[in-house]
Amino acid sequence: MCGIVAYIGYRQAYPIVIKGLQRLEYRGYDSAGVALLNGELSVYKKAGKVADFTNYVSDKNLVGQVGMGHTRWATHGEPNDRNAHPHYSESKDLAIIHNGIIENYAAIKQELINSGHTFKSDTDTEVLIHLIEEIKHKTHVATEEAVRLALGEVIGAYAIVVLSKSEPNKMIAARKGSPIVVGIGKDEWFIASDATPIVEYTKNVAYLNDGEVATIDNGKLTVKTIDNETKIPFVQELELKLEAIEKGGYDHFMMKEIYEQPRSIWDSMRGRIDADKGRLRLGGISEFENKLINAKE
């Protein structure tokens, strides 16, 4: 679980993104990062809370009308600066933020290493952005098309946002399993894990469905499925009150967490059991399996 927020429009992106990250901090708080498009594609990231991050970037260039930010809850790779999001692609033309788990990242990573990619982090996320770039270069398609093709190859759950230095008027988002809300303002667009970073700017939102890729390109939103079917986004009005937001509408975190259990229990089994095939594999214990099996009777 992580928090993601992104902005493309006429305002400065950084203040919107940071405020959004503070709202989303309940979704993860072990590291934070921001990417901004301003001729360059600048990435800043830091282990720690959002407050640590804002101190860290206080002397950096934070200009840009397109940006995205991430607050992390580590799943692959411990929380440190290197593993924090956003992650660059090989050429640094693309950057990604990701909430979720790419289950088959190890196999894809090996293939990419074989074709010359080098990785800077231990994350599954960095593998995904390298894969997107690899596909983009091989098939000479637009970034959103490369994203769509790449997502066809991965197994797992994700909510992602991708920015490209060479296509500065474009922002791409996709989801499967992890939530994405697109906020639709006048000549500006917001993307976030939930509506809390968006609510003070616009009440018009579209929730992406599983397996959908949204592209905002020169002020126009298009949505496609991973199977390349065009969808008309369903725009609805938010009924969210600002004070309810960090707790996702519940009065207390405890109640929210009680209600998250169908999902959290599933998350603790995901990728570990396959009942159809009668398989169970708890990665961590495999190496010490014999110790466990032969533990003193």
Binding site: M1, Y26, R27, G28, Y29, D30, W73, A74, T75, G77, E78, P79, N80, D251, H252, F253, M254, M255, K256, E257, I258, Y259, E260, Q261, P262, R263, S264, I265, W266, D267, S268, M269, R270, R272, I273, D274, A275, G278, R279, L280, R281, L282, G283, G284, I285, E287, F288, E289, K291, L292, I293, N294, A295, K296, E297
Partner: protein, 301 residues
């Protein structure tokens, strides 16, 4: 404790459950053949870390079950599995507890399967049943309105007793702990059959007794324990399997949960107990997310 029952039951390896803080000071018998499983949501619990270091020195293999990735305990252990429950902010643990139980269940099953102490068909049946648990938890959450009504009746109680047998006993302990933590009502979890050797003396018409009375091998025994409480006019709040008839006739209040395998009952039956403690605490005006005197990550010894 759920893990002790699971690993002994399925994998046939003897297990001792220890408080890290006691374990490290009592010169325990630990050798190279032992495996120590360290369980901590935050992965920072000071007593648990110290216990790990001590067991390591004596040559044991240490396995961690933690929620916070990259925290100190996973770094201090030989191996481990994360619970992947996501950040837990409420100080009273809910989803981190069920995630720990889930991971420990997977662990017990994997060892049991490798050791051949359970049949292939039982192994596969349990995997299938595990996959249904999230939806059964979803159904158990639907008891919320009913639990809230019951909470209103007992919010001013000064004591609570929680009873269970077999896999229901650790659930009784967890239910009592949740209530104590956030509502500040004194509560005790007890093995149902042991009640007659002590706590039964406390029972009167004011005493709410929460009983885990799901359909399983010890169901009949629990039914007699309920009668013992009823004979002393205690008020029974029973967690029962959907469609239950016998307990419903005796109990003052029943809360239904979906049927599941005996070993997976803790994951489903703890849900109404979490809701009960939550509603009682809210009705008593307690700060549920930050109960007095408690901290999320206990980094002092």
């Amino acid at each position: 404790m759920v893990a002790e029952y699971l690993i002994e039951d399925l994998a046939r390896i003897p297990v001792e459950v220890e408080y890290a803080s006691e374990f490290r000071y009592r010169n325990p018998i630990i050798s190279e053949d032992d495996v120590v499983i360290a369980i901590s949501q935050s992965g920072e619990t000071a007593d648990t870390l110290a216990a790990i270091e001590m067991a390591k020195e004596r040559g044991a293999t240490i396995f961690g079950v933690c929620n916070v990735v990259g925290s100190s305990i996973p770094r201090a252990t030989h191996a481990g599995s994360y619970t992947h429950a996501g950040p837990e902010i409420g100080v009273a643990s809910t989803k981190a507890f069920t995630a720990q139980v889930t991971v420990l269940t997977l662990m017990a099953l994997q060892i049991a399967n490798k050791r051949g102490t359970i049949t292939q068909s039982r192994f596969r049946a349990l995997l299938n049943e595990l996959e249904t648990i999230p939806s059964k938890v979803e159904i158990a959450l639907k008891s919320n309105d009913k639990v809230k009504e019951i909470s209103a009746l007992f919010k001013d109680s000064r004591n609570f007793l929680y009873l269970g047998r077999g896999y229901g006993f650790p659930v009784a302990l967890e239910g009592a702990l949740k209530l104590k933590e956030i509502s500040y009502i004194h509560a005790e979890g007890y093995p149902a059959a042991e009640m007659k050797h002590g706590p039964i003396a406390l029972i009167d018409e004011e005493m709410p007794v929460v009983v885990i009375a799901t359909k399983n091998s010890s169901y009949e025994k629990v039914v007699s324990n309920i009668q013992e409480v009823k004979a002393r006019k205690g008020k029974i709040i029973a967690i029962v399997t959907e469609g239950d008839v016998d307990v419903r006739k005796m109990a003052d209040y029943t809360i239904e949960i979906p049927e599941t395998d005996d070993i997976l009952v803790p994951l489903v039956s703890v849900i109404p107990l979490q809701l009960l403690s939550y509603h009682i605490a809210v009705m008593r005006g307690c700060n549920v997310d930050q109960p007095r005197n408690l901290a999320k990550s206990v980094t002092v010894e």
